[in-house]
Amino acid sequence: MDPRLITAFIVVIGVPAVLFGYIYATEIVLRIVPEHRRAQVRPWLWLAPALAFLFVFLVYPTIGTVIRSFQDQAGAAFVGLENYLWFFGSEDAIVALRNNVIWLILLPLLTVGGGLIIAVLVDRVRYETVAKSVIFVPLAISMVAAGVIWKFMYDYQQPGQPQTGTLNGILAVFGIDPIPWITVDAFALNTVALVVVMAWMWTGFAMVIISAALKGIGAELLEAARVDGATELQVFRRIVFPLLLPTIAVVSTTIIITALKTFDIVYVMTGGQFDTDVIALLMYKEMFSFNDFGRASAIAVVLLLAIVPIMALNINRFRAQEAIR
């Protein structure tokens, strides 16, 4: 039998069977527990598999990574802060950090800004679904595919030759010389070009969430404002925008984390060359190309520390929102 068929069988029948089996088994275990304690124990038993997975695949590797980051390449000896000193003393790492900051600022601006504008603009038009679908579709494309697509968009041929790249093709219509978009490192233009690719993908995500929040704003609220003589711009600034703010904050933090984790697009489009490197790619290279697990772990820890405050902010906001409810 085809091994794929067997895998399909295991997934379709086996996974539900194991789940039911587990719940069934917990009930048997609970019989030993005294009646009045059962309600207290049950949730923990149900949570146990998830907690076990969380521990094995998240907590344990995180602790392992932190320990590994203080060890040398072979993992034989502890070297103190050497890996971290290397990271902050290496030119490549500083460039990668700079680029991550560019990603961090530019990507939320483009996606949330773009998503907000589009969501508000298409809110009251007849072809709203069509317009939103078109903006949303790129999110379904894998990042690698998006990188390949945009490599064609940014393609460069020397002046005088037919321009195969879409952007340079447009420039050629106006008689402007082509620009080798992904090799120009002046003003980090190439990094910006890469951010645009990611923004093209994620604007649809921001738009959909913001649009949903927009639908939740009561029409009577807006009507009341209009009756009171507010202009459309005032309605947006004083009523719609403040009500959207919690949603925008959640979308922004999600996008910020995406920006920090950027890897695929940079790997596919430039391989980190021409000063476009980012932290995640740097970590990948140290680990898989140079086989230095110590340094790779140190980079991972730096990345983790950078993400933690943003996550904390996100959770805090989430709690505050829950409290309002």
């Binding site: 039998m1 091994p3 067997i6 069988f9 295991i10 029948i13 086996g14 539900p16 069977a17 194991v18 039911f20 089996g21 069934y24 040398d72 390449q73 072979a74 030119e91 393609d155 460069y156 041929q157 020397q158 080798p180 992904i182 090799t183 490192d185 790997y267 596919v268 391989g271 980190g272 060359q273 021409f274 990948y284 290279k285 680990m287 898989f288 190309s289 140079f290 086989n291 230095d292």
Partner: protein
């Protein structure tokens, strides 16, 4: 009653899962005739097809199967594979450096191959590159001559009197330029490995300007990048870049596969393209006719005392699991009849001296170059530690982008050299 049926159903379902799991494990454990050998290599497209054709006769006679996966990230896959123990049976190895690093996971091949015959049929340099402390761990399945200079005989035929020295090349190029836009063509884009065609340039120049002794010191990390020998090679390369079609923007954005395509344009974009023998299987070369549309001459001498130096490279192969089928395949791959299959398809030179079914005169001549080389140097960047090799690629790109930064680039390479060669 109802509860009992649910329980019965659950038991049947769980039993089914166990049965399936058992069937699954038995199917992978079956060996002997009809076994599958997993192979990972860097070849894709036409090269992958050629490799599969090469193993087809073996599959037919033994009844075994080859499951081939081609990947650009072989170094990454094998690094994690060695750490985790999940490895293919046979794999292409990125270079002799990695082979030494993974020695503990690789299987010795001395008893697998017909060793006496293998040593007799293969160039000594190649045998040595696959040997660690007298034991063979890697073999070459095919090879390539690096640093050939390709031209279009239709623009100017150099084959009658090819330039013998670098100075002759410069003067002849200026004299015969004709309608060509520039002297050289170049394409450095190659995904995550962008820049490597430039490292071949530097290697060819170092080998002929400074000689094989300095060349060996250099890749072994004993010669600084800021030393006059290496700096001079970069500067000579800089002159080439300055005379290349389209300038740095075109060089950096053109894929290495199509780097020489401008040779065939009218008017030609350039007179020469510097690339290894495998270019004949890539880009516009593939459709062009050998001898009439394109031809080559070997890289000319620079310092006469190093006459006859040739840089070569090859695809090293190692074995991670010594199953009977894997051993049999390994034994087959180094033989002349096996390598002849790929040689006949084109784009590759054999590593085996007795595989000589080259499709045209050009392939035959490049194979002869490799066999008759007085000084054979293996691709230096392939022998460097990967961190050094990676930095070398980046340095090439940075230098082509802005040649005025040469000193800063070389100083940075020195810094990485100190770090990359320190014992793990």
């Amino acid at each position: 009653m109802r509860q009992r049926t649910i329980r019965a159903k659950l038991v049947t379902a769980l039993g089914g899962v166990l049965l399936v799991a058992a069937a699954c494990s038995s199917s992978t454990a079956s060996g002997g005739a009809g076994a599958t050998v997993t192979v990972i290599g860097t070849w894709g497209g036409d090269e992958e097809k050629a490799f599969l054709q090469m193993v087809a006769p073996w599959e037919k006679t033994t009844g075994n199967k080859v499951k081939y996966t081609g990947t650009r990230d072989i170094n990454q896959i094998l690094t994690t594979g060695v750490a985790s123990g999940v490895l293919p049976d046979l794999a292409g190895l990125p270079g002799p450096g990695q082979m030494a690093q993974w020695k503990a996971s690789l299987k010795p091949l001395d008893t697998v191959l017909d060793t006496a015959k293998y040593k007799e049929e293969t160039a000594k340099t190649l045998v040595d590159l696959g040997t660690i402390d007298g034991t063979i761990y890697g073999v070459f399945i095919k090879s390539a001559v690096k640093g050939l200079i390709w031209f279009s005989p239709k623009a100017h035929d150099y084959s009658a009197a090819p330039p013998k020295t670098w100075d002759e090349l410069t003067t002849q190029a200026a004299a015969n330029k004709g309608s060509a836009k520039a002297i050289w063509c170049m394409g450095l884009e190659s995904g995550a490995a962008s820049g490597w065609p430039g490292t071949d340039w530097i290697e060819d120049l170092v080998l002929r300007q400074a000689g094989p002794a300095k060349y060996d010191e250099w890749w072994a990390g004993k010669l600084k990048w800021t030393s006059p020998e290496i700096k001079k090679a970069f500067e000579t390369f800089g002159q080439v870049v300055a005379n290349t079609d389209g300038g740095s923007n075109t060089i950096l954005t053109t894929a290495f596969q199509t780097g020489g395509d401008a040779l065939f344009k009218t008017p030609p974009g350039c007179e020469f393209h510097h690339q290894a023998s495998f270019i004949t299987g890539l880009g516009a070369f593939k459709a062009a006719k050998a001898g009439t549309d394109y031809n080559f001459f070997p890289f000319p001498d620079i310092d006469p005392q190093y006459t006859g130096a040739i840089e070569g490279a090859g695809d090293l192969f190692g074995m991670f699991h010594d199953t009977d089928a894997a051993k049999s395949l390994m034994k087959y791959l180094v033989t002349a009849p096996a390598q002849d299959i790929w040689v006949k398809i084109g784009g590759a030179l054999s590593a085996n001296k007795n595989a000589t079914s080259y499709p045209d005169d050009i392939a035959k001549r490049s194979a002869a170059l490799l066999q008759d080389a007085k000084i054979f140097a293996f691709d230096a960047s392939d022998k460097m530690p990967s961190a050094m090799n990676n930095a070398f690629w980046t340095a090439i790109l940075d230098y082509v982008k802005d040649p005025t930064k040469l000193d800063a680039i070389l100083t940075n390479l020195d810094k990485i050299q100190v770090d990359a060669y320190k014992p793990a």
